[in-house]
Each structure stands twice: as C-alpha cells, then as structure tokens.
C-alpha cells in the first residue's frame, strides 16, 4: 500500500501587481498646475507631456526633479473595527529632461527619463491580507529620446521612442505553518523591459489658445528570469522547487491626451487636460515559473478585466513678477479597477487631487520649482472575487516635489 493519500498543495502565490499604478508626477511646474501641460509650453517636461511642443520651447533645457511620495492606505476588514495601515515608506518618482536645438532653428532634440508607473506599499506581515500581499515595490523607468519639429509658427509635431526598464519586488505570506508557528513566504523579484513610443502635436490657434494632442503608446513590459524565492516548512520544500525563476508580462497602458492653454492676461496661464488611459488592455495576469510541481507550485493565469480610465485636470499659474510664479490646480480620475478586483497592491478607486506650487527664476537661467500634491483615493468597500479579502480601503497620497531647471 503506497499512494493511498494524494496530497496536493494547490497553493499558488496569487500575484497581481500593476493596478491603478499610474504615477502622475512628471514635472514640478506641471504638478503645481494640477499636472496639466499637454497644451502648454513650460519647460523640458514637454518631452513627456507633449513631444510636439518641444520645438516651441524658446530655450534649451536641462532639468531634474524628484517627488517623494508617501502612499498611506488603510484597510478596515469587513465585520470588524480593525484598521490596518501601510508602513511609512517613501517612493521616489523622479524626472530628468533635456531639450536642445540650435538657436532659432526649426527642430529640437529631447531626452526624458521619468517614472510613469510605480507602486510602493508595505502592509507588513501581520495584517489580515498578508496572504494576498505583504509588500510591493514596483517601478517603471521610461527613457525617451525625442525629436520635435516646428512646421510653422503655429504648428509643431514631435515623437519619441520609449524604452522601459521595470522592476518588481513583491512579498506575500504563504499559509503553511512551520513547527515554530511561522508562515511561509514568497518573494518575487525581477527586472524587465519593454518598448513603446510617444508622439504629439502642438497648435497655437488664432484666438491665442494653445492646444496639444498626444498619444503615449502601450508599453508591454516583460520580466524574464526573475527570482522566485519560497520559504516553506522543510517537509514541503519539494512542493516549492528552489532555486526558481518566474516570468510575467504586464501591459503598461497607452494614454491619449488633449490639453488646452488659455492666457487671459500676461500674468495668468490657465490649463485644461483630459486623459484617457487604456487600461482595458489589462485582461489577465499570467505567471510562469521556471520549475513547477504538479503537487505544489503551479503556473497561474488570473483574470484582471480592467477598464479604461479617464482623468480630468485643471490648473492655473500666476506670475507675480518676472521671477515668481504661483501655481495651483486639481483634478479627478476614474478608476481602472472594476468591482471585485480591488486588491491591496494599490487599492484603487476614483480619486480626487489638489495641487499647489511655486516657481522662482534665478538670474534668467535657473528655475527652482516646488510643488505639493494631495491625492485622496475614495473609500471603497470591496470583496475581491479571487482572494475573498473583504473590507474597505481608503488611501491618501502626499507628494511634495522639487526640481531645478537650467535653461539657456
């Protein structure tokens, strides 16, 4: 009598990164104005906001900025008065832009390095959803060389190639207890890459209103040969083969934007942006492991079924004098995550945000810009259809930012 018991540990780490992970922090001047800029010519950040507008920049630019981001999420498990909080960890979205062309020429070259997607959430190993997620650190760094051409005084176009270097580091508890009473743990760590493009058109209308239309393509990012580390009780090590690798791919969605700039007086600039983010491409998330085990670790394919999301942004800038600018703005964004798919990686919901900023120009060549953004992700009471983690998520995001731009 041998195989009388069939012991199958059908325990598949359920990983679901990339969700509502768009980080809209691509330039301090623009953040100050509600993250508008598709229809404006402000500085080198046009490489991101509208490559078509880069050729319209009156000067050349080299600039860098950083927006330390504090993502504070709270979870109230259904049927309790417990509140679980994410740890205070600061993500560091950053930007670097350069835009250069010969003086008064019809073209400019640009380079942008920025972080349009990312997530940093650390729920700890002692909360109700620890088997769904302990911590996640996800980063996508886009590198974008760009060419912009002025076709006429009122019309310019531009486009760039995007190389994405993405990285993920995710941990979750595995519900297998060892003799000391501790949970197992899975850690998935890896880097990947993807390619895409970015194009825009910029128009100065006869009425003096400026208009920008841009499209940033989907960047399908693939992680191959990531490290899959499983810590489980030693009697079950055969079920979770080690060392192991994983591969996965996530479509970072396309964004189509239209933006307008209005200039009622010499001091005032008003801007309006509408973005459509094509999250609809995110249908499933598949994880494949280097070595699988029929009675244990299995490849997974999980349904995601995201929907397209929209954001509406408005902002204003007031120049008190030649050197000082005061900025403010705000906006509203709809969620990409349908009911039943909300999970603790980035507990998404519709969100509203307000921003403010100050800019100071030193000696005509150096801009110092600071910005602050407060974002409130609406409270959302959900039961995840896959993990059955049920409760209410609510999130606040606090983002100060600072940048320096040198222009000549």
């Amino acid at each position: 009598m041998k195989k009388l018991l069939l012991l199958v540990f059908a325990l598949m780490p359920v990983i679901s990164f990339a969700q509502g992970f768009q980080v809209n922090l691509e330039g301090e001047k623009q953040i100050g104005m509600g993250h508008t800029g598709t229809g404006l010519v402000q500085d080198g950040a046009s490489v991101f906001f509208n490559p078509g507008a880069v050729a319209m920049l009156p000067q050349n630019y080299v600039q860098g900025g950083i927006s330390p981001l504090l993502f504070k999420s709270t979870f109230n498990p259904q049927g309790t008065n417990v509140e679980d909080h994410t740890a205070n960890k600061i993500a560091t979205p950053f930007t670097f832009y350069a835009a250069w062309g010969p003086k008064d020429s019809f073209w400019k070259l640009g380079l942008g390095v920025y972080t349009p997607f990312g997530g940093l959430a650390d729920w700890g190993d002692n909360w109700q959803g620890k088997y769904v997620l302990e911590s996640l650190n996800l980063k996508a760094i886009y590198i974008q060389p760009t060419l912009s051409i002025k076709l006429a005084d009122f019309l310019s176009v531009g486009g760039g190639f995007v190389y994405n270097r993405g990285s993920v580091d995710l941990t979750q508890a595995i519900p297998l207890t060892n003799s000391a009473g501790q949970d197992g743990q899975a850690e998935l760590k890896g880097t990947g890459k993807g390619y895409g493009w970015n194009a825009g058109i910029y128009i100065v209308t006869e009425a003096g209103i400026t208009v920008g239309i841009t499209h940033r393509s989907e960047v399908n990012t693939t992680i191959n040969n990531g490290t899959a580390l499983f810590t489980v009780p030693s009697s079950l090590s055969a079920q979770f083969p080690q060392p192991n690798t994983f591969s996965s791919s996530i479509p970072l969605p396309a964004t189509t934007s239209i933006g307008f700039g209005f200039y009622p007086t010499k001091q005032w600039t008003l801007a309006l942006d509408v973005n459509m983010i094509g999250w609809d491409v995110y249908k499933v998330l598949a994880f494949n492991y280097g070595t699988v085990e029929p009675a244990g670790l299995q490849n997974t394919v999980e349904q995601r079924d995201y929907q397209d999301a929209f954001s509406f942004r408005g902002g204003a800038q007031y120049k008190t004098n030649k050197n000082l600018a005061i900025r403010f703005g705000g906006g509203y964004a709809t969620t990409a995550v349908e009911d039943g798919f909300v999970s603790p990686e980035a507990p998404d919901a519709n969100r509203a945000f307000v921003t403010g900023g100050l800019g100071y120009t030193f000696a005509n060549h150096l801009d110092l810009d600071v910005s602050f953004e407060y974002e409130h992700v609406m409270s959302r009471d959900q039961t995840n259809i896959q993990t059955q983690l049920a409760g209410t998520f609510e999130t606040n995001v606090y983002i100060p930012g600072i940048s320096l731009a040198y222009h000549w």
């Binding site: 009598m1 012991l7 959803g129």
Partner: protein
C-alpha cells in the same frame, strides 16, 4: 539651507501622521449580553485537535476566540480549564514528522509533559484515563467525548476523564454525583453556545458502526429540549449549532475504496468489506465507492495472509476475509447515520427557533466547504486531509485556523439574531496545521 531641510523633514513627519480615517462600523452587543458567556459542548468546544486535548489547542478553541471578540462589546472574563504549562501536552496528541517517499504523512504521538495522573477500570465500562484536576473558574465547559445522551447521567464523571478532571472528588474511588447539565448551569450566566450532539452520531460512525450506537431520535429530542430549557431558564440567550454530516470530514474521505482498488489492481483482486445488510446483520460484499474507510485503518493489513477454514487468504481481498466492520462505514451505515443526523438537526433547529436562539448551521456550512472549498483572505481552504488547512491530523477536529472560522460563523449567527455587531476574528492570524 539647514533650516530648509528641517522644514522639509518636519513637513514629512506631519504628513506621516495623517492616516486616512475610515469610518469603521460601531460595535454592539445588540440585544445579547455577554457578561458571562459559557460554552457547552464536546471536544470541538474544548479545543481538541490532532487527536488530543492540550494547552495550545485549548488556547485556540472556538469559544475562546469568540470570547476575545465579545470582550470588545462588554464580554466578561472567559476561563478555560487549561492544562498548566508544565503539563502543556495534556492528553498527548499527534504531530506530523514528515512524509514518506510516496508522500504519505508520518505522524508521531507526543508523550512528554502530559497531564495524565493515572487510569482506572470503570466497572462495566472499561479503562478511564484520569487527568490532573482543574479547580479554577470555568466558562468553557467543553468535555471531549460527551454525547447529548450523557448530559443527565449522574455518574458520567466516573466514565469520562475529561469531565472527572473538572469535578471535585477522585472518580476512581468515589461516586461522582453531578451530571453535566447541572454542572454547567450551576452558576448564573447570560449567554451560551451549545454544540452538543456530534458524538451521538460520530462515535458510531468513527468506529465503522461497530463500537457504539446512534442515540435514539426521540431520546435526542427529549434531552435537547431539556438542555435548552435549563440553559434558558434564567433568561440567558445563546447560539446553538447543528451537527455536521459525518461524511464531510476527512476522517472518512481520505483513505478511499477507489485508491485501495487501484493499488491492488495488479493482483486482479478487489476490496471486500463486511457491510450492513439490515438491522444488525452484516455480510461480506465487494466494496463500492459509497463505502467509507476510516482514516485510522492500517492499510498495511491489506493483502496479508489470514488463516481461514479455506486455507490462508489475503486480508480484505476475498469474501472470506473482508475488511473488518470497525474500519468501514459502509453505504448503509452512511445512510443510517445521515438519517439520524438530519433528524437531530431538525430537532436542533426547531427547538432553537422555539426559544428564539441563534443557529449556526454547521451541517450546511461544512457540506458547502466539502463541495466548494473555502477562500478567506487569500487562503485557500478545503476539507482535504492535511492539505486542506481546516482539519487537524485526526481528520475530525480542527486546526486553530479552522476553529477561528467556526468562531466567526457563530458570531455571524449571533449578529443576525441579536441585532449585534460583534467583530469577526482575523482568520489569517490563526495557524493552520504545523509542518516540520
């Protein structure tokens, strides 16, 4: 520049203090009063796990988990007859020491730090193991092995070492004249859980219908009514639970006829069982998938040569040498047990409704888990032995995680019936089965 850094730092610190505030629901005891909550029941109530009663299991009993949650809505102290840390292993229990090459679990009994003080031979009954006495306050009255049938037996303490342990007097030398029902209702209480009745069916089923009898349906109904009357006599409110279908537990679903037949297929022989025909008549026949083999069946016996009037024959594989009755709950016995359990449950739900008590329908709940599994907070659970995460190594009793789930089901029933909002326990913080 120094000041500037300071501003940024203090700004960040300020932000770090601003957590989003969720409007959490207001907790409430509703129309219930948990100031003294008692738990009435058997091994499941006591926190029995892995084939024994021991401190760690007691600390994770479902009543103790419930009491922790009730404490947030005015619940009082909840004392359990805990074993001491020096005798933490209580009756002893099973641990998993690993898996053999075929993937079968290897278990070993824990025999150190026990609370066994001796044993004696109860006349007309058999050996009773005696445990170190507990003399403190008690709110958890779970007594492993007790049937509803036993609750009015005056000398029950002389036959059950777990009950003897709670009573004054040495059961091996004196007649203990306190019945269970009087014992648990002696001190005033405001709320109770009552999960009695499992053993009235389970003791018959786990011995393959050979070692015990099913409690008569009418007797069950009379005793249940009596127990509820006494429990509610002073106005206490409570929650009762139905009795799970015995076939919903891994004890009966792990070693299967199909698996054994597959193993012996090469010999051309098939499994025979000694099955119930009717009444008390048993006869050998070919085993079917409706016959349930108990978890404790020593499968190594199969095929070993047995001396018979027809010469030596392989055990379990001929009509002359069927698997013994005690190892098989055959199809007719399954049907009989189910019929009794359903009758008991009709009694429980009807009488609970008449008293306005809350009901946790464990029968339906565990059948659903068996059919569909259970997903909670990212944990996939099922009724499978060892891998399922709910049941302990004995295949009958639960893991701490399983007991936490049961505690939450009781709480949900309480919340519904008494318009209360007792917070649920965090299932993820209770352990599953321990693996080496």
């Amino acid at each position: 520049m120094k000041n500037f850094k300071l501003y940024i730092l203090s700004g960040l610190l300020f932000i770090a203090a601003c957590k989003p505030e969720i409007h959490t629901p207001t907790l409430s005891k509703g129309t219930a009063n948990f100031s003294r909550f008692i738990a009435v029941g058997n091994s499941l109530t006591a926190g029995y796990s892995n084939g024994g009663l021991y401190l760690d299991g007691q600390l994770n009993s479902y009543p103790s988990i419930m009491a922790k949650q009730m404490a947030q809505v005015g619940g009082g102290a909840f004392n359990q007859p805990l074993f001491t840390t020096a005798q933490a292993n209580g009756s002893g229990y099973l641990t998993l020491t690993g898996f053999d090459k075929s993937g079968n679990p290897i278990t070993a009994p824990v025999t150190t730090d026990l609370a066994v003080r001796g044993e004696y031979n109860a006349p007309g009954f058999g050996t009773v193991v005696l445990y170190t006495k507990y003399t403190g306050d008690i709110e958890n009255y779970g007594v492993p092995g007790i049937k509803l049938y036993n609750i009015t037996t005056p000398q029950y303490g002389n036959y059950n070492g777990y009950f003897e342990r709670l009573l004054p007097g040495d059961g091996s030398t004196t007649v203990l004249n306190t019945d269970y029902l009087d014992f648990v209702t002696a001190k005033p209480f405001t709320f109770f859980t009552d999960w009695l009745g499992n053993n009235d069916a389970l003791s018959y089923a786990t011995t393959g219908g050979a070692g015990d009898v099913l409690t008569d349906k009418t007797t069950f109904a009379q005793l249940y009514e009596l127990s509820l009357q006494q429990l509610t006599a002073s106005g206490a409110k409570g929650v009762v639970a139905t009795i799970p279908d015995v076939t919903s537990i891994p004890y009966f679903n792990t070693v299967t006829v199909a698996a054994i037949n597959a193993e012996v297929a090469s010999t051309g022989l098939k499994l025979y069982v000694n099955a119930l025909v009717s009444g008390t008549t048993y006869a050998p026949r070919l085993a079917t998938n409706n016959d349930l083999i108990v978890l404790t069946f020593p499968t190594s016996m199969i095929g070993t040569m047995v001396t018979t009037p027809y010469g030596p024959l392989p055990y379990g594989l001929t009509p002359v040498t069927p698997v013994d009755n005690q190892y098989v709950l055959d199809a007719n016995e399954v049907a009989l047990t189910r019929d009794y359990v359903q009758s008991y449950n009709a009694t429980i739900t009807t009488q609970a409704a008449a008293k306005g008590l809350a009901v946790f329908d464990a029968y339906t709940y565990l059948n659903n888990v068996k059919l569909h599994g259970l997903e909670i907070d990212g944990i996939s659970l099922s009724s499978a032995y060892i891998t399922g995460g709910l049941f302990s190594l004995d295949g009958v009793h639960l893991t701490p995680r399983g007991y936490a789930i049961i505690a939450n089901e009781f709480i949900k029933a309480i919340n519904t019936t008494y318009n209360a909002n007792v917070p649920l326990a965090n299932v993820a913080s209770y352990q599953g089965l321990k693996f080496p």
